[in-house]
Amino acid sequence: MARGRSLGALIPGRSRTRPPRPFLRFLARRFVALLFLGLGITLVAFLLTNLAPGDPAAANLGQRAIEDPAAVASFRERYGLDKSLPEQYGIYVWRLAHGDLGESQQARLPVTEELGTFIPATAELALLSILIAVVVGVGLGILAAIRQNRLTDHVLRVVSLTGVSMPTFWLALVALYIFFFRLNWLPGTGRLDPQFSEPEHRTGFFTIDALLQGEWATAGDAARHLVLPALVLALYNIGLLTRYTRAAVLEVVHNDYIRAARAKGISERRIVLRHVLRAALPSVLTVIGLAFANVMTGAVLVENIFAWPGIGQYAYRSATTLDLPAIMGVSLFVAVVYIVVNFAVDVLYGVIDPRIRVS
């Protein structure tokens, strides 16, 4: 297959002029699955949150207000808690169909607006973290595999095992202590130093927003603030990817076609990059996808320690205050992330491996 051809053109049995129906069918199937999965998630989240012992009014109203029937009635009416559970769920789904995720009981803001603030903060961190993890983890994995059972391999295996074994919250505290407190190489908490104001919200990525507005110093400061939490989040995934890449490369490296390539005198570098890695990449890609989804949805502790106002902090706050609309919003977001990431991985399989495209 020639490089640069579109995915649709690569699928057999279809001319270039006709619309890429199989791909569209694939997209449509995924979209329908997303709808059902989303609906299922809302139902499960709704039921579980309502089954949890505790009263949202008690969790959100103060110790005096909870004793005031007028205040309690006002709270229940505002959030529809005075209606039966099926009614509440029906209203939620109806609003959801219109793009309304309800209003957060804590901040009394639309959940969509809150997600719009928190998601970009996490996404900015997650993207950098996963980029570091992929470059370093895949690189080290290949290195470990091609130097199998040598000193480099042994060292890298220990290092990767250490990476996956370290509790992330502990790493975060240690990193903060060493690089911020002791060495003062990197800033501590938050997305910006106090003397910088947040750039006007366009993408929600402070680095990009600041650059778009020509605030170079703010962009630099935002980038510096990203480094430490991104590295902490990346360490686990570096260990994970090193191990998976090593295993995947080792599976491929002893195949006949690799031996044949060597016999033809192709350089080792070319063999690794063009033949070995390409064949090993699909399974590594699965891990990368899952790692990215995990970072996007599971950085609660790191976000808390680095005072990073991301989706992890939002999820924690919502759960501890029984903020039902916010919990539902976070649950839906998590579901969407996994679905989208899996979808992206599926598409990338086809791009990387021609055998998957034709099957």
Binding site: A52, P53, G54, D55, A58, A59, L61, G62, Q63, R64, A65, I66, E67, D68, A70, A71, S74, E77, R78, Q106, A107, R108, L109, T117, F118, L173, L176, Y177, F180, F181, N184, G188, T189, G190, R191, P194, Q195, S197, E198, N304, I305, F306, A307, P309, Q313, Y314, R317, T320, T321, L322
Partner: protein
């Protein structure tokens, strides 16, 4: 020998000197009065923030913010919480047996947009607070508000309310610019809980007359304030910008040592230990206003054991109060009664119940109970001042175990344990009470039939003498007499009530050494406007 002209020369020199001193003094004076606010003050706080709307906020972080955005009629100064001082009001007059309060407003006050502040704004703010039916609405329960003229405000209470001067100093009673808030969806009319739409506006822009203005507001990351250039009051901002950041205590510990112009508000006494004696950081560890207490449910339907008065006495005399205070850490103090030591009517330490194991054993024997086994509930996922309820519960379990009372620890997530506590279904409960306002009336809730009394199964009519004393104390306006009455109440509570006040945990304020005016106050924590830099 001196020439004839010498005295004249001396006189001229003296005049010139006096004039120079006068000019220098005037210049110095004008510098100190008109000193422009500069620099950035950084406050690290673990957020419990919900809103910047003064009439909706009733959280600690929200109180810190509201205190500098919105002026109140009266205010507390420094660390004092006993005497409300003039702020927007030059003073007040109580009449009709503490049922009517007339406040006279200062005439030269302007909001940050230049609008003059009048009684209309006060009436709007207070009515809005009442009609929003939010967390702080109870502060003006049974109170009606009216204007007696452009600069006179009258508060009428259904019942005698000597706590009203302390209540109007609360940040939730901060005065908003009524025209501006109304123009942005605000209302003070009945039904405001459904029709008022000003919260999102007030989360973006402040509408007050305080020393700072709201620049940005985020409930999970940071709040940014800037100095109010039109401010004319006593508390002129000394920093151009204040940034309040949401940071967990362990990170606060590192930041405050690294930063300048930085204050940490959430370190526990244990966490702050490395900072004592630090070259860069000043640390204050003083008793906070929260009262940690244990109760034994007096409702026999909940437990025939804990409702036994002799059993309650056994607990009362067996608890190792000194050990509990030590466990709570540096700065912590014994809670002699339910009213915190800083407030009017607090009991002296000497009047506190002391551990007496012999008496405790005798009381347990007299209770007729053998090998009693009870459940102690507490919020397992909640800490206050860095102190875990679980640790204190274990100490109580160990103390009572020494005289044969078996205590089963039943820690639950706060959402669950709070529901049980409020429903009055806990046998033994370990909780704290934080002041809603700095007045002993806020502690009448511990009496039979009242809010916390009912949570301990202490129904109205259980102790008529104490209840009558409570009614008298709650409606007496003379501070000296009130103080005596509240002390009497607490002595009786300590003798026969189901509550066992334990301690007031230490409150740590760690600040960069270059900062001045960092004073902890039990109501608003710290006044950002009084903080300056050397």
């Amino acid at each position: 020998m001196l020439s004839r002209s010498t005295p004249r020369r001396v006189l001229l020199v003296a005049v010139a000197l006096v004039a120079a001193i006068a000019v220098a003094a005037a210049a110095a004076n004008s510098t100190s009065n008109d000193q422009a606010a500069t620099g950035t003050l950084v406050i690290d706080k673990s957020f419990d923030l919900k809103t910047a709307d003064p009439q909706r906020q009733f959280e600690v972080t929200g109180g810190i913010v509201a205190h500098v955005l919105y002026d109140t009629l009266l205010e507390f100064r420094g660390s004092d919480v006993t005497t409300p001082r003039p702020s927007l009001a030059t003073g007040y007059r109580a009449s009709n047996g503490a049922k009517t309060y007339t406040f006279t407003l200062r005439r030269n006050v302007r909001f940050s947009d230049g609008t003059p502040l009048t009684s209309r704004d006060v009436v709007f703010s207070f009515r809005r607070l009442i009609n929003l039916k939010g967390n702080p609405s109870f502060l003006l329960a049974g109170v009606t508000v009216s204007a007696g003229g452009p600069y006179t405000v009258i508060l009428r209470s259904r019942t005698p309310n000597p706590a009203l001067p302390a209540i109007v100093a609360n940040g939730s009673l901060g005065i908003v610019n009524s025209k501006l808030v109304e123009a942005n969806g605000g209302t003070d009319a009945a039904g405001a809980d459904k029709t008022d739409k000003a919260e999102s506006f007030l989360n973006r822009t402040s509408a007050g007359s305080g020393p700072y203005l709201l620049k940005s507001f985020n409930t999970t990351s940071r709040v940014e304030l800037t100095a109010n250039p039109r401010y004319t009051g006593r508390r002129k901002a000394k920093f151009a910008t204040v940034v309040i950041r949401n940071v967990l205590a362990p990170a606060q510990l590192l930041s405050v040592q690294r930063g300048t112009n930085e204050i940490s508000l959430d370190l526990s006494p244990d966490q702050a230990r490395p900072l004592f004696g630090s070259r860069n950081v000043n640390v204050q560890a003083i008793s906070g206003p929260n009262i940690w207490f244990l109760f034994a449910n007096s409702n026999s339907k909940i437990s025939s054991i804990t409702s036994n008065k002799r059993f309650q006495n056994a607990i009362r005399y067996q608890l190792d109060y000194a050990g509990l205070v030590r466990l709570a850490g540096r700065g912590s103090g014994r809670a002699a009664g339910v009213v915190p030591s800083q407030f009017l009517g607090a009991l002296a330490d000497a009047a506190a119940i002391k551990q007496n194991t012999t008496r405790a054993k005798a009381e347990l024997a007299a209770s007729g109970l053998t090998n009693p086994e009870v459940e102690l509930e507490f919020p397992s996922d909640f800490t206050s001042s860095g102190l875990s309820f679980g640790v204190i519960a274990q100490k109580i379990q160990a103390d009572l175990g020494k005289i044969g009372i078996k205590v089963n620890l039943a820690g639950k997530p706060i959402a669950t344990s709070l529901a049980n506590y409020r429903a009055g279904t806990e046998q033994l409960g370990l909780w704290l009470w934080g002041p809603d306002y700095p007045d002993p009336n806020d502690y009448l809730v511990f009496l039979p039939g009242q809010l916390v009394g009912l949570r301990a199964g202490w129904a109205a009519g259980s102790d008529r003498r104490l209840e009558a004393l409570g009614r008298r104390a709650g409606s007496t306006s003379n501070p000296r007499v009130r103080g005596q009455l509240f002390r009497q109440i607490q002595v009786q509570l300590n003798q026969r009530g189901p509550f066992f006040p334990l301690f007031q945990p230490g409150q740590v304020v760690a600040a960069s050494k270059n900062l001045t005016g960092v004073v902890y106050n039990a109501t608003f924590q710290i006044d950002l406007a009084t903080i300056g830099s050397r």
